[in-house]
Symmetry: C2
Subunit: 179 residues, 2 copies
Amino acid sequence: MNQVIKQNGTTAPMQIVLGVDPGFSVTGFALVAKAQRITVLDCGYLKMSAQKTLSQRTGEFYVFFQQKIIEHKVTHIALETSFLGKNAQTFLKLGFLRGVLFLLADQHHLVLTEFAPREVKLAVTGSGAASKDQVADMMIRLFPGLTTLPQVERADATDALAVALCGLWNQQSYMQMLK
Amino acid sequence: MNQVIKQNGTTAPMQIVLGVDPGFSVTGFALVAKAQRITVLDCGYLKMSAQKTLSQRTGEFYVFFQQKIIEHKVTHIALETSFLGKNAQTFLKLGFLRGVLFLLADQHHLVLTEFAPREVKLAVTGSGAASKDQVADMMIRLFPGLTTLPQVERADATDALAVALCGLWNQQSYMQMLK
Protein backbone atom coordinates (compact mmCIF):
# COMPACT_ATOMS: atom_id res chain seq x y z
CA MET A 1 0.00 0.00 0.00
CA ASN A 2 1.17 3.57 -0.73
CA GLN A 3 2.21 5.44 2.39
CA VAL A 4 2.60 9.06 3.39
CA ILE A 5 5.09 10.08 6.06
CA LYS A 6 3.20 12.19 8.57
CA GLN A 7 4.78 15.20 10.31
CA ASN A 8 5.31 13.26 13.53
CA GLY A 9 7.42 10.74 11.60
CA THR A 10 4.87 7.92 11.56
CA THR A 11 3.37 6.68 8.33
CA ALA A 12 -0.28 6.67 7.28
CA PRO A 13 -1.69 4.79 4.29
CA MET A 14 -2.19 7.13 1.34
CA GLN A 15 -5.81 7.68 0.36
CA ILE A 16 -6.39 7.35 -3.36
CA VAL A 17 -9.96 8.13 -4.28
CA LEU A 18 -11.76 7.18 -7.48
CA GLY A 19 -14.76 9.44 -8.10
CA VAL A 20 -17.27 8.29 -10.72
CA ASP A 21 -20.26 9.93 -12.39
CA PRO A 22 -21.71 6.88 -14.17
CA GLY A 23 -23.72 6.86 -17.38
CA PHE A 24 -24.29 4.36 -20.20
CA SER A 25 -23.19 6.82 -22.85
CA VAL A 26 -20.59 8.92 -20.99
CA THR A 27 -19.11 8.18 -17.55
CA GLY A 28 -16.91 10.80 -15.93
CA PHE A 29 -14.12 9.67 -13.61
CA ALA A 30 -11.34 11.20 -11.53
CA LEU A 31 -8.53 9.78 -9.42
CA VAL A 32 -7.20 12.00 -6.66
CA ALA A 33 -4.63 11.56 -3.92
CA LYS A 34 -3.30 13.72 -1.13
CA ALA A 35 0.32 13.67 -0.02
CA GLN A 36 1.70 17.19 0.54
CA ARG A 37 -1.12 18.56 -1.55
CA ILE A 38 -4.05 17.23 -3.51
CA THR A 39 -3.01 15.70 -6.80
CA VAL A 40 -5.22 14.68 -9.70
CA LEU A 41 -3.70 11.41 -10.91
CA ASP A 42 -6.13 10.95 -13.77
CA CYS A 43 -9.38 12.58 -14.87
CA GLY A 44 -11.44 11.93 -17.95
CA TYR A 45 -14.37 10.00 -19.32
CA LEU A 46 -15.38 6.62 -20.68
CA LYS A 47 -17.60 6.74 -23.74
CA MET A 48 -19.46 3.54 -24.61
CA SER A 49 -20.98 2.83 -28.01
CA ALA A 50 -24.78 2.59 -28.20
CA GLN A 51 -24.16 -0.10 -30.83
CA LYS A 52 -23.05 -2.46 -28.07
CA THR A 53 -25.54 -4.42 -25.95
CA LEU A 54 -26.19 -3.40 -22.34
CA SER A 55 -24.38 -6.54 -21.32
CA GLN A 56 -21.28 -5.63 -23.36
CA ARG A 57 -21.27 -2.08 -22.00
CA THR A 58 -21.59 -3.37 -18.43
CA GLY A 59 -18.60 -5.63 -19.14
CA GLU A 60 -16.61 -2.76 -20.70
CA PHE A 61 -17.35 -0.53 -17.68
CA TYR A 62 -16.15 -3.27 -15.29
CA VAL A 63 -12.87 -3.85 -17.15
CA PHE A 64 -12.18 -0.11 -17.48
CA PHE A 65 -12.58 0.63 -13.78
CA GLN A 66 -10.88 -2.56 -12.64
CA GLN A 67 -7.80 -1.43 -14.59
CA LYS A 68 -7.94 2.08 -13.07
CA ILE A 69 -8.25 0.60 -9.56
CA ILE A 70 -5.24 -1.69 -10.05
CA GLU A 71 -3.10 0.86 -11.92
CA HIS A 72 -3.57 3.63 -9.35
CA LYS A 73 -3.83 1.43 -6.23
CA VAL A 74 -7.21 2.97 -5.40
CA THR A 75 -8.29 2.79 -1.74
CA HIS A 76 -11.70 4.53 -1.90
CA ILE A 77 -14.59 4.99 -4.30
CA ALA A 78 -16.83 8.08 -4.11
CA LEU A 79 -20.21 8.30 -5.81
CA GLU A 80 -23.15 10.67 -5.84
CA THR A 81 -26.40 9.18 -4.56
CA SER A 82 -28.84 8.58 -7.37
CA PHE A 83 -32.36 9.94 -7.55
CA LEU A 84 -35.27 8.78 -9.65
CA GLY A 85 -35.65 11.06 -12.66
CA LYS A 86 -38.27 11.01 -15.37
CA ASN A 87 -37.27 7.66 -16.80
CA ALA A 88 -37.48 4.64 -14.49
CA GLN A 89 -35.69 2.35 -16.97
CA THR A 90 -32.73 4.77 -17.21
CA PHE A 91 -32.65 4.85 -13.41
CA LEU A 92 -32.67 1.03 -13.27
CA LYS A 93 -29.84 0.82 -15.80
CA LEU A 94 -27.78 3.36 -13.88
CA GLY A 95 -28.16 0.82 -11.07
CA PHE A 96 -26.27 -1.70 -13.27
CA LEU A 97 -23.20 0.55 -13.39
CA ARG A 98 -23.44 1.48 -9.73
CA GLY A 99 -23.72 -2.24 -8.97
CA VAL A 100 -20.47 -2.85 -10.88
CA LEU A 101 -18.74 -0.22 -8.72
CA PHE A 102 -20.13 -1.80 -5.53
CA LEU A 103 -18.86 -5.16 -6.82
CA LEU A 104 -15.38 -3.76 -7.56
CA ALA A 105 -15.31 -2.18 -4.07
CA ASP A 106 -15.92 -5.63 -2.60
CA GLN A 107 -13.45 -7.41 -4.87
CA HIS A 108 -10.64 -4.91 -4.20
CA HIS A 109 -11.49 -4.18 -0.54
CA LEU A 110 -12.22 -0.50 -1.13
CA VAL A 111 -14.29 1.82 1.02
CA LEU A 112 -17.25 3.11 -1.01
CA THR A 113 -18.95 6.32 0.10
CA GLU A 114 -22.00 7.99 -1.40
CA PHE A 115 -22.63 11.73 -1.22
CA ALA A 116 -25.84 13.60 -1.91
CA PRO A 117 -25.48 15.89 -4.98
CA ARG A 118 -26.21 18.90 -2.75
CA GLU A 119 -23.42 17.89 -0.39
CA VAL A 120 -20.91 17.66 -3.28
CA LYS A 121 -21.90 21.07 -4.70
CA LEU A 122 -21.73 22.67 -1.28
CA ALA A 123 -18.29 21.21 -0.59
CA VAL A 124 -16.72 22.33 -3.86
CA THR A 125 -18.45 25.65 -4.58
CA GLY A 126 -19.83 26.77 -1.22
CA SER A 127 -23.42 26.50 -2.51
CA GLY A 128 -25.59 23.38 -2.45
CA ALA A 129 -27.61 24.79 -5.33
CA ALA A 130 -24.63 25.40 -7.67
CA SER A 131 -25.11 24.54 -11.35
CA LYS A 132 -23.10 21.92 -13.26
CA ASP A 133 -21.25 24.83 -14.94
CA GLN A 134 -20.35 26.42 -11.60
CA VAL A 135 -18.94 23.07 -10.42
CA ALA A 136 -16.96 22.78 -13.67
CA ASP A 137 -15.62 26.35 -13.35
CA MET A 138 -14.43 25.73 -9.82
CA MET A 139 -12.74 22.46 -10.76
CA ILE A 140 -10.96 24.16 -13.67
CA ARG A 141 -9.86 27.01 -11.40
CA LEU A 142 -8.33 24.44 -9.01
CA PHE A 143 -6.90 22.22 -11.75
CA PRO A 144 -6.34 24.22 -14.95
CA GLY A 145 -5.07 21.12 -16.76
CA LEU A 146 -8.71 20.02 -17.13
CA THR A 147 -9.19 22.46 -20.02
CA THR A 148 -7.41 19.94 -22.26
CA LEU A 149 -10.50 17.68 -22.03
CA PRO A 150 -13.00 18.05 -24.88
CA GLN A 151 -15.77 20.54 -24.06
CA VAL A 152 -18.67 18.05 -24.43
CA GLU A 153 -17.45 15.46 -21.96
CA ARG A 154 -15.66 17.90 -19.63
CA ALA A 155 -18.67 18.40 -17.33
CA ASP A 156 -18.89 14.64 -16.71
CA ALA A 157 -15.23 14.57 -15.76
CA THR A 158 -15.48 17.67 -13.51
CA ASP A 159 -18.55 16.21 -11.77
CA ALA A 160 -16.58 13.06 -11.05
CA LEU A 161 -13.64 15.13 -9.81
CA ALA A 162 -15.93 17.06 -7.44
CA VAL A 163 -17.22 13.83 -5.90
CA ALA A 164 -13.67 12.40 -5.73
CA LEU A 165 -12.55 15.49 -3.78
CA CYS A 166 -15.50 14.99 -1.42
CA GLY A 167 -14.32 11.43 -0.90
CA LEU A 168 -10.81 12.68 -0.13
CA TRP A 169 -11.92 15.45 2.25
CA ASN A 170 -14.33 13.10 3.96
CA GLN A 171 -11.46 10.70 4.54
CA GLN A 172 -9.14 13.50 5.69
CA SER A 173 -11.61 14.67 8.31
CA TYR A 174 -12.08 11.08 9.36
CA MET A 175 -8.29 10.68 9.72
CA GLN A 176 -8.24 13.96 11.65
CA MET A 177 -10.83 12.57 14.03
CA LEU A 178 -8.66 9.51 14.69
CA LYS A 179 -5.65 11.59 15.77
CA MET B 1 -19.61 -27.15 -24.89
CA ASN B 2 -22.27 -29.73 -24.05
CA GLN B 3 -23.85 -31.25 -27.12
CA VAL B 4 -27.07 -33.06 -27.87
CA ILE B 5 -27.27 -35.60 -30.69
CA LYS B 6 -30.25 -34.60 -32.81
CA GLN B 7 -32.52 -37.18 -34.45
CA ASN B 8 -30.92 -36.69 -37.84
CA GLY B 9 -27.57 -37.64 -36.31
CA THR B 10 -26.05 -34.15 -36.26
CA THR B 11 -25.19 -32.47 -32.99
CA ALA B 12 -26.58 -29.23 -31.60
CA PRO B 13 -25.14 -27.33 -28.65
CA MET B 14 -27.12 -28.04 -25.48
CA GLN B 15 -28.99 -25.05 -24.08
CA ILE B 16 -28.49 -24.67 -20.36
CA VAL B 17 -30.54 -21.82 -18.98
CA LEU B 18 -30.03 -20.06 -15.66
CA GLY B 19 -33.21 -18.31 -14.52
CA VAL B 20 -32.88 -15.76 -11.73
CA ASP B 21 -35.37 -13.86 -9.59
CA PRO B 22 -32.97 -11.42 -7.89
CA GLY B 23 -33.39 -9.83 -4.47
CA PHE B 24 -31.01 -8.49 -1.81
CA SER B 25 -32.50 -10.72 0.88
CA VAL B 26 -33.55 -13.80 -1.11
CA THR B 27 -32.70 -14.58 -4.74
CA GLY B 28 -34.37 -17.55 -6.41
CA PHE B 29 -32.50 -19.40 -9.13
CA ALA B 30 -33.01 -22.41 -11.40
CA LEU B 31 -30.84 -24.20 -13.93
CA VAL B 32 -32.65 -26.12 -16.64
CA ALA B 33 -31.54 -28.07 -19.71
CA LYS B 34 -33.28 -29.94 -22.46
CA ALA B 35 -31.92 -33.10 -24.00
CA GLN B 36 -34.60 -35.80 -24.44
CA ARG B 37 -36.75 -33.97 -21.91
CA ILE B 38 -36.50 -30.91 -19.73
CA THR B 39 -34.28 -31.46 -16.71
CA VAL B 40 -33.91 -29.25 -13.66
CA LEU B 41 -30.19 -29.38 -12.92
CA ASP B 42 -30.41 -27.20 -9.83
CA CYS B 43 -33.07 -25.02 -8.24
CA GLY B 44 -32.95 -23.12 -4.97
CA TYR B 45 -32.22 -19.77 -3.43
CA LEU B 46 -29.41 -17.53 -2.21
CA LYS B 47 -30.04 -15.81 1.10
CA MET B 48 -27.78 -12.87 1.94
CA SER B 49 -27.36 -11.47 5.41
CA ALA B 50 -28.67 -7.94 6.05
CA GLN B 51 -25.67 -7.58 8.38
CA LYS B 52 -23.40 -7.38 5.32
CA THR B 53 -22.88 -4.15 3.36
CA LEU B 54 -24.50 -3.72 -0.05
CA SER B 55 -21.04 -3.97 -1.53
CA GLN B 56 -20.37 -7.31 0.20
CA ARG B 57 -23.74 -8.68 -0.87
CA THR B 58 -23.13 -7.59 -4.47
CA GLY B 59 -19.79 -9.42 -4.29
CA GLU B 60 -21.39 -12.54 -2.78
CA PHE B 61 -24.07 -12.55 -5.51
CA TYR B 62 -21.39 -12.32 -8.23
CA VAL B 63 -19.32 -15.20 -6.82
CA PHE B 64 -22.39 -17.41 -6.27
CA PHE B 65 -23.67 -17.06 -9.85
CA GLN B 66 -20.22 -17.19 -11.43
CA GLN B 67 -19.76 -20.60 -9.78
CA LYS B 68 -23.18 -21.82 -10.99
CA ILE B 69 -22.37 -20.66 -14.54
CA ILE B 70 -19.04 -22.46 -14.59
CA GLU B 71 -20.26 -25.60 -12.79
CA HIS B 72 -23.27 -26.14 -15.07
CA LYS B 73 -21.73 -24.74 -18.28
CA VAL B 74 -24.61 -22.27 -18.59
CA THR B 75 -25.32 -20.93 -22.10
CA HIS B 76 -28.26 -18.59 -21.41
CA ILE B 77 -29.56 -16.33 -18.65
CA ALA B 78 -33.29 -15.57 -18.34
CA LEU B 79 -34.66 -12.71 -16.22
CA GLU B 80 -37.99 -11.05 -15.66
CA THR B 81 -38.11 -7.40 -16.65
CA SER B 82 -38.20 -5.13 -13.62
CA PHE B 83 -40.85 -2.52 -12.94
CA LEU B 84 -40.73 0.43 -10.59
CA GLY B 85 -42.59 -0.40 -7.39
CA LYS B 86 -43.29 1.78 -4.38
CA ASN B 87 -39.68 2.16 -3.34
CA ALA B 88 -37.30 3.79 -5.84
CA GLN B 89 -34.19 2.91 -3.79
CA THR B 90 -35.15 -0.79 -3.72
CA PHE B 91 -35.65 -0.59 -7.48
CA LEU B 92 -32.21 1.01 -7.93
CA LYS B 93 -30.56 -1.65 -5.77
CA LEU B 94 -32.27 -4.43 -7.73
CA GLY B 95 -30.47 -2.82 -10.66
CA PHE B 96 -27.16 -3.63 -8.92
CA LEU B 97 -27.94 -7.37 -8.98
CA ARG B 98 -29.32 -7.26 -12.50
CA GLY B 99 -26.14 -5.41 -13.52
CA VAL B 100 -24.05 -8.24 -12.05
CA LEU B 101 -25.98 -10.75 -14.19
CA PHE B 102 -25.49 -8.58 -17.30
CA LEU B 103 -21.78 -8.44 -16.44
CA LEU B 104 -21.55 -12.24 -16.01
CA ALA B 105 -23.38 -12.68 -19.34
CA ASP B 106 -20.67 -10.58 -21.00
CA GLN B 107 -17.77 -12.27 -19.18
CA HIS B 108 -18.99 -15.80 -19.99
CA HIS B 109 -20.43 -15.05 -23.45
CA LEU B 110 -24.00 -15.96 -22.49
CA VAL B 111 -27.20 -14.87 -24.19
CA LEU B 112 -29.32 -12.89 -21.74
CA THR B 113 -33.06 -12.60 -22.38
CA GLU B 114 -35.62 -10.64 -20.40
CA PHE B 115 -39.30 -11.61 -20.22
CA ALA B 116 -42.21 -9.52 -19.00
CA PRO B 117 -43.76 -11.05 -15.83
CA ARG B 118 -47.07 -11.45 -17.70
CA GLU B 119 -45.31 -13.38 -20.46
CA VAL B 120 -43.74 -15.79 -17.92
CA LYS B 121 -47.05 -16.42 -16.12
CA LEU B 122 -48.85 -16.95 -19.40
CA ALA B 123 -46.22 -19.42 -20.62
CA VAL B 124 -46.20 -21.56 -17.48
CA THR B 125 -49.83 -21.40 -16.29
CA GLY B 126 -51.80 -20.35 -19.37
CA SER B 127 -52.85 -17.11 -17.68
CA GLY B 128 -50.91 -13.84 -17.72
CA ALA B 129 -52.66 -12.82 -14.51
CA ALA B 130 -51.72 -15.95 -12.52
CA SER B 131 -50.69 -15.43 -8.88
CA LYS B 132 -47.28 -16.33 -7.45
CA ASP B 133 -48.97 -19.33 -5.78
CA GLN B 134 -50.43 -20.54 -9.04
CA VAL B 135 -46.98 -20.35 -10.67
CA ALA B 136 -45.53 -22.29 -7.70
CA ASP B 137 -48.26 -24.94 -7.90
CA MET B 138 -47.65 -25.50 -11.59
CA MET B 139 -43.89 -25.76 -11.11
CA ILE B 140 -44.35 -28.30 -8.31
CA ARG B 141 -46.76 -30.29 -10.46
CA LEU B 142 -44.12 -30.43 -13.22
CA PHE B 143 -41.19 -31.02 -10.85
CA PRO B 144 -42.40 -32.62 -7.60
CA GLY B 145 -38.86 -32.62 -6.20
CA LEU B 146 -39.28 -28.88 -5.48
CA THR B 147 -41.33 -29.68 -2.37
CA THR B 148 -38.06 -30.44 -0.57
CA LEU B 149 -37.29 -26.68 -0.62
CA PRO B 150 -38.28 -24.79 2.55
CA GLN B 151 -41.76 -23.24 2.27
CA VAL B 152 -40.64 -19.62 2.79
CA GLU B 153 -38.11 -19.45 -0.02
CA ARG B 154 -39.87 -21.89 -2.35
CA ALA B 155 -41.82 -19.21 -4.22
CA ASP B 156 -38.57 -17.39 -5.12
CA ALA B 157 -37.15 -20.62 -6.50
CA THR B 158 -40.32 -21.49 -8.45
CA ASP B 159 -40.45 -17.96 -9.93
CA ALA B 160 -36.86 -18.40 -11.11
CA LEU B 161 -37.72 -21.82 -12.53
CA ALA B 162 -40.66 -20.36 -14.44
CA VAL B 163 -38.46 -17.74 -16.07
CA ALA B 164 -35.74 -20.34 -16.78
CA LEU B 165 -38.32 -22.49 -18.61
CA CYS B 166 -39.33 -19.43 -20.62
CA GLY B 167 -35.69 -19.00 -21.55
CA LEU B 168 -35.51 -22.62 -22.63
CA TRP B 169 -38.75 -22.58 -24.64
CA ASN B 170 -37.78 -19.28 -26.23
CA GLN B 171 -34.52 -20.85 -27.33
CA GLN B 172 -36.25 -24.03 -28.52
CA SER B 173 -38.62 -22.06 -30.73
CA TYR B 174 -35.66 -20.07 -31.99
CA MET B 175 -33.83 -23.31 -32.82
CA GLN B 176 -37.02 -24.56 -34.48
CA MET B 177 -37.07 -21.47 -36.67
CA LEU B 178 -33.50 -22.14 -37.75
CA LYS B 179 -34.27 -25.67 -38.96
